[in-house]
Subunit: 376 residues, 2 copies
């Protein structure tokens, strides 16, 4: 492990951890939410809005970027950071999840996966070695091992097979990552919802040795209860002194519950995707701006917010824009939601620092449940 | 005429006029280009970007806004300015053009037009009186008379009939507008491409008396040559001491040619619409960012521009975003183009002030023709 990547736990409250990752491109306050910049853009947002909302790190998708503009091209142009204009750290996934969910005609072997691009049908092969090479070419700061991600439901036998394969791929990924000073490599714990498999996966990954450890294969349709019960027995067997990243999660409620179970990092398309469809996340719960009840409501979504989209545009105007299919409606609600997620993370961090995380969770959930009454 | 609306000509150079409209909501430097905010948003842009680019006034579409969110609703909510968050003047068209081009099952009578909404099929009637009422309810600063706008080609007989009807509607519109201190009412010269009809229309409108005069029924498919030759005999018969507005025009070349013929105001969806389709307007001509030649070009569109979208994002990145169908690509190119149009207007105004408009036109056209060579 290189000293250029450092994770420090500054406070604990129950299972929750307040921490800080320091690396050459900047500091990541944890628990952290990473906005998703799929193809090199957090959809509908300027990156200074993302930064201004409080995001320390964003995510890029290896699968999308390898197809377009392409990894070798991005390296030639100076890397992903320069290309998109983001100075802070970037985490890239390994492409495993999107290969399964988006591409066509997959063939999975011990060696890797072959698939056809969902854009132009061109054939690609991704192996653990190639995935790590792509991530290195992109200039990613946190690179994820290549893994096999199963959809839910699946049999325990399937989960075991995929977990074992992912473990062998973890070893090859870690080897391929090699020593890139200041750039981290994370392993991914798999094993479905079975305790024995999660434990075996975590132990195997720890033996290989990574800068951080992710929980994969959750939030794929199993539901919150099963996700959290899986976390209950998974995070305790993951290294305590390394960051823990729950991939692809989730709702604000998923996040506060997972932080209580020792998760430090999150990513999800939900704030931007829901925003494009008219939904706002707020401190008093979800709000569907398509709903006719907002048509003459000149109040902002939340006057107390630091985010201009949240405090300076009326619900009536955003309702009108969303109903009219206007880009600005999607732009504003994406901003509202990214800002709320970052506001939530800041609240989480403060509560852990203050040793009142359980109270914070209860209050936050109460506010969500009380809904707009809070706002009047 | 109320003194709250004032038009002052500060300099002349050939037919070109440098002027200033002052009215309660602000000053409009002419020649002016008005970005189009069809349904209450300049598509893909924040209004502070529009303002920052140099726009003094924007346009709203009566037809779109009467359908959604509705004129009475907008008045109830405090008017269009408050609704969209724009402090400066707003010009609204009368709905005539969109009724013809967008709506279904039209019935045109002396009284007005009945049509079905292109959104939900609901039936509406717009008369000159209703059009002016809607524009007053919106709180529009410059309200356009209701007119009949013909598509091209049409017979001279048709043009004459429509012009005469528009003239009668002009009288009703002006009467309906009444006296709204600080809010102007503009007449629209019609008459197709026939000199006699344009002269008759202009004379009739002058008799009625408006705060400004528009040229309607051009840029509807007749081509630039016919448009300019029509202007050649139309602007000279329009009042010299009032602003002249060429509706729905146009390309940068259309604009500089029309300014030379005495036009003071323009509006067009071209900068935003073309931007959404990947086209940039620059001081060295048009640039299609979809083109593969930009894929590895890390230069900004124009490093000398004051607009961040133009000077701080690479062509390669914008190419990638446009190819990927990402909102940010459309957002950036809309901004690039609105900024270029405003930059062009500023250049036009400076050239008239300096008494070198003919040279300015020649140089500007040379730069467009030299293309990107200018940039290297």
């Amino acid at each position: 492990m290189t000293e250029l990547f450092n994770f420090e736990i500054k406070a604990r409250d129950g299972g929750a951890r307040l921490g800080r990752i320091t690396m050459p491109r900047g500091e990541i306050r944890t628990p952290a939410f990473m906005p998703v910049g799929t193809v090199g853009t957090v959809k509908g947002m300027y990156l200074d809005q993302v930064k201004g909302a409080g995001a320390d790190i964003i995510l890029g998708n290896t699968y999308h970027l390898m197809l377009r503009p392409g990894a070798e091209r991005l390296e030639k142009l100076g890397g992903l950071h320069k290309f998109i204009g983001w100075q802070g750290p970037i985490l890239t996934d390994s492409g495993g999840f999107q290969v399964m969910s988006l591409s066509k005609i997959r063939k999975l072997t011990e060696r890797g996966v072959t698939f056809q691009s969902h854009i132009d049908g061109r054939k690609y092969e991704v192996t653990p070695e190639r995935s790590m090479e792509i991530q290195r070419l992109l200039g990613s700061d946190i690179q994820m091992q290549f893994d096999e991600c199963l959809a839910f439901p699946h049999s325990e036998k399937e989960a075991e097979r995929a977990m074992q394969l992912s473990l062998r791929w973890a070893s090859r990924s870690r080897h391929a990552h090699g020593n890139q000073p200041g750039r981290a490599c994370f392993g991914i714990v798999q094993g479905g919802v079975t305790r024995r498999l999660r434990e075996e996966s975590a132990a195997g990954l720890k033996d290989i040795g990574f800068h951080g450890y992710a929980v994969g294969g959750l939030a794929v349709g199993e539901g919150q209860e099963l996700m959290l019960s899986t976390l209950d027995f998974t995070t305790p067997v993951m290294p305590d002194d390394k960051p823990r990243y729950l991939m692809g999660v989730g709702t604000p409620d998923d996040i506060i519950e997972s932080v209580a179970r020792g998760i430090d990092m999150f990513d999800c398309v939900m704030p931007t995707r829901s925003g494009r469809h008219g939904q706002a996340f707020t401190r008093f719960g979800k709000m569907n701006l398509r709903n006719a009840k907002h048509a003459e409501d000149m109040r902002p979504i939340d006057p107390t917010s630091d985010c201009p989209a949240t405090s300076q545009y009326s619900r009536a105007y955003i309702h009108h824009l969303i109903r009219s299919g206007e880009m600005l409606g999607m732009m504003l609600l994406s901003w509202v939601n990214i800002a709320y997620y970052q506001h939530l993370m800041q609240g989480i961090r403060q509560a852990i620092a203050d040793g009142r995380y359980a109270d914070f969770m209860a209050e936050t959930k109460q506010n969500w449940a009380r809904g707009e009454a809070l706002d009047s």
